[in-house]
Amino acid sequence: MKYDVIVVGSGLSGLAAGIRLAMFDKRVVIVEKHTVVGGLNSYYTRKNRTIDVGLHAMTNYAPKGARSTPLGKLLKQLRLSHDDFRLHEQEMSAIRFPDKCLHFTNDFELFKQEISEQFPDQIDGFMGLVKKIESYDELSLFTSEWTSSQDILKSYISNPILIDMLFCPLMYYGNASERDMDFYQFVIMFKSIFIEGFAKPLGGMTYILNLLVDKYKNLGGELRMDSEVESITSKNGIFKGVNLVGGDQLTADVLISSMGRVETLKCCNPPLELDWEDSGSTGQVSFMESLFALDQEPKNLGYPNSIVFFCTENQFRYEVPAELIDVSSGVLCCPNNFKYPENLSEGMIRLTNLASFRLWNTLSRREYIDAKKEWRAKALENLFTFFPDFRDSVVFLDSFTPKTIYKYTGHLNGAVYGSSKKAKDGTTPIRNLFICGTDQGFLGIVGATLSGISMANLHVLQSKSAQNR
């Protein structure tokens, strides 16, 4: 059977691309190597608990009716209503550094007020930066020159602590590069976190993924699980088809891949010459995450916020650590502290720290298991110099590392935000082979979904050559 389009990966970007294509009667198949959908944002079950892997919070919250926001566009394009996502807004989040703490909610005015109170001499500069951000076209699909956000921030803000405090959440939730951030990405993240804000779907990722899979299947889309793409074949530089592990071959006019850019190019047959730019930009940034199920609500234990981005030292370092993990900064997420109609069944705290794939990957199995315990304990010890101790309330815990992320998503180095070089228009050296998702440049749950939509629109639905096929 020949398809119009093969989509590789059933993460959010792949599912979204699939839905758009199936909606307009394209013969489309999504091939996924794992047995569960979701990719970087999936879920697993352990001891009768269903645990979200990725989701802390959905960024880009917009109320019903705000149609020109990223969330509004996403819902319209997938023909879902706002109610379908069952979103519940955050209570309050915080950025906590040794001497300063900034709170924010889904009302941007509060954040401005926090900054004017905590950094009175910086508010004018900050407002200048906001003005620049608001007028910036960050969603353009045309690649622009790398622009240093560090340099731009320094031109508006003279206090290095405030600069680090602004970077901390934006980097943790969406920066593929170490230390600095391409400015368009900074703008995307700034808008999605500070101006728009956080919400969580009732029922978590399982619910959202089921919603998307049902939509896709009802539109006639085909989903092949447990089907890993082994190679992508082309002839004279034009995409032909894929070979799956186990021997099946599929052919199609177009391939849209969410595996990652380098990961996709490495699968090509005949092989492509990867230049240094390609291989040198392979993503490095990854995380260790631990989750703690509690015998009570986090609030009762002194954790009232939805998400806290913290740094226990005065200088924030967003880079691959020289040890297995860097305990000096991280993200704390309390899924309970969202405005749900009723309390969740169990209290939960999640803790994310920067981690080194290379170091985790050198460990033997035995060492790996011990190291997880050891570093989880170290991360907690450092956390409790700043926050109340909750160890006595833990009824279940689990951790995953960059190695886990690599194993389940195939992203090299377990790089959560992909390559530091983005292919914004999705094109590759092979004709009719396109990239969507993380490496196209829109990150996070809402970003990845929009990425799949945009690439399906641009390269299949809108494309002149596609209409004549």
């Binding site: 909606m23 566009k73 819902l75 319209k76 394009q77 706002h82």
Partner: protein, 87 residues
């Protein structure tokens, strides 16, 4: 299809592409973009739906004909005159 049916066909499409929208209050003479916050992605959807439902190709140079309900009807009626409004 008569004028009213063509209008209904367009309303049906708008209802599908903007599920949160109240399409019953659309004014014929005001641009759709303004009334419903439609963007270029939505116009792509209108064009795709016309192709899917009625096999009509709207070339990019004609997109401006879809600017308001009134202009949609004017543009589409000749193309749809021999067609039945599907259920």
């Amino acid at each position: 299809m008569n004028r009213e049916e063509v209008r209904q066909a367009v309303v049906d499409i708008l209802e599908d592409i903007a599920p949160d929208e109240d399409v019953s209050s659309i004014k014929d003479d005001i641009s759709l973009r303004e009334q419903m916050d439609l963007d270029s992605m939505d116009f792509l959807d209108i064009v795709m739906e016309l192709r899917k439902r009625f096999n009509i190709e709207v070339p990019e140079s004609d997109y401006q004909e879809l600017v308001s309900m009134a202009s949609c009807i004017k543009y589409l009626q000749p193309l749809l005159k021999d067609r039945q409004l599907a259920s």
